[in-house]
Amino acid sequence: MDITFSPAEQQFRAECRDWLHDNVPDQRRPMDAADALDFDKAWQRRLFDAGWAGINWPTEYGGRGLSIVQQVIWLEEYANANAPWIGANFVGVNHGGPTLILNASDAQKAYHLPRILRGEAIWCQGFSEPGAGSDLAGIKTRGRIEGNELVITGSKIWTSFAHVADWQELVLRTEEGSQRHKGLSWVICPMHAPGIEVRTIRKMSGQTEFAQVFYDDVRIPLDNVVGGLCNGWKVAMSTLSFERGTGFIADQVKQSEEVEELLERARQTGALKDDRIAEQLAQLRAEVAALRAMTYRNISQVVRTGQPGAESSVIRLFTSELGQRLERMALLLAGDDILDFRYGDDNLVAEYLRGFAATIAGGTAQIQRDIIAERLLGLPKSR
């Protein structure tokens, strides 16, 4: 065991830091959806041009082919530099792209991966349905095979970025009459195809970042199936493992920045003299340190064995609840100023309200606890 970084890794860190110092935009990510999209695309393009997109993606698809350790160093410096959230590029970069790298055909990879990295193609995730949330295997959206086309009918919901996306990771039932995990396929669905309607949904934070998507006889090429027809459950599980695993490293790193900001605020306002607040901040600081240690331990495991340990599900649950504890601390320090919150404000209240997603989206905290008990401790399956 060794907590120190090699000279080459330190050199890489210095390069990240220098570039970010000169290039992080002064402007905050806009609140307006259309402006935010332009902002996200331009920023992703800049990252790509400078070689910071896809640090651990294969070089043949526009990545740098470096290790996950370098990816983490980049994300640490990214958070330190207060660089913007990757926004609409989240799905493509964090789990759509990685799913394609693992499961897609050469032609699919060659077309999509560089576009994702360059910020030219925005992706969204069509897994959840009105009747299939935690119980994802209850998917009812159907794809009927006609010649070399799939004809899609049904609906997806809570689809983040659906209103701005070009492509979708769509999981649907391609075998008539199939049940549960069988007969599903993971397909690349063009969001601009005729028959697709997107109705945005407003969150309690005021933003309209997700939507319900309706499919009315939408025709897409059968070639868009990824990882084989009716093999969708397996491909979807790999998507979720990226979404729940490496996809959250950026959030984890950000939390260590946040706790220092909270401490500074508590010092300035004198709130730190309150014993309860001091106690909670001390605890949060210890927890954030442990989260970083867990992340390092997990990526060390990836470097050593090629895959993350069973602790990934633990990290995911711990980060999501820790993030919410940090948001509640910010709220406590703000006092009754939070009562002035209005839709459109981009502040700690909006963060707090959006933060409820951490224990719901990508598998609820309850489902995560089931997974930990069943896979890590071997307790009997109850679902």
Binding site: D2, L263, R285, R369, L379
Partner: protein
Amino acid sequence: MDLTPNDEQVSFISATAKWCADNLPLDGARSRPPALWQQLEAMGWTGMTAPGMDLDHATEALVLAELGRHLAPIALLSTAVTARWAGQPGKTALALLDKDLTGGLVRVFDAPGATHALGLVGGLAAITPLPSDLGGEPGLDLTVPLAHLDPAPPFSPIGGPDAGLHLQLLAAAFAVGCADAARDMAAEYAKLREQFDRPIGWFQALKHICSDSAVRCEVARSQLYYAAGALDAGDPGAAFHIAAAKQLADQAALENARANVQVHGGIGMTDEAAPHLCLKRAHLLSFIAPVRRDILLGEAA
């Protein structure tokens, strides 16, 4: 950067785990054989931290977490610190001093066979010679003989500030082991015990108690590894990282021990069953090198 045990460390851990499984069953922690300390000496665990051995803190923490999982003798902690910083061979008991540090009462744990006791005086490690006949009776922690010295004898410091950190790190390692033991005991029982015609671990209410224990273990263990590495690397943040490890390890040990009693139901709160042994050990560990809040907040002078 690598926060996983290397091959050598893995073999250390598995050798320790195997020996403990054969010789230190947790449910026998109240009646250890009189020659246990000599056996531990023969296995090399009492002298492994001596200056000539060049053992890093990471390996030491890994081995002590295994021993801690079996509620091994508490004097292993004080003996390891004394061996490293005073080069002193033989058993050293563990002393807990009064808060005000002047006079008052000293509690001495695991005194039989020990020539000295080690405690923290104002955060610094310090030792005192012990009367040769100091024995002790079990207190709250039924696995450890406890004796009192009143008034406190004079203590002389050993090592520098790192010796105090070393004790805190090792106590954290013991607490991580204790938390693991409680987690595993609960999970095992939840698979075996049946009510309503199924294992009680089928019920989510219990399942989630167990997964929360697992989360606390992983969190504390990860920070323990980082803290040990920080002490090895001479990292300026070592004091903070060790404090964080101790804080999270103490919480994991205590909360997992309580959860384990709950998962066991009625039998869980009996003298006969093992869960209270972990609970009581967790309470004892929380008083060894306790965490200072100013260090966690990065405000220590």
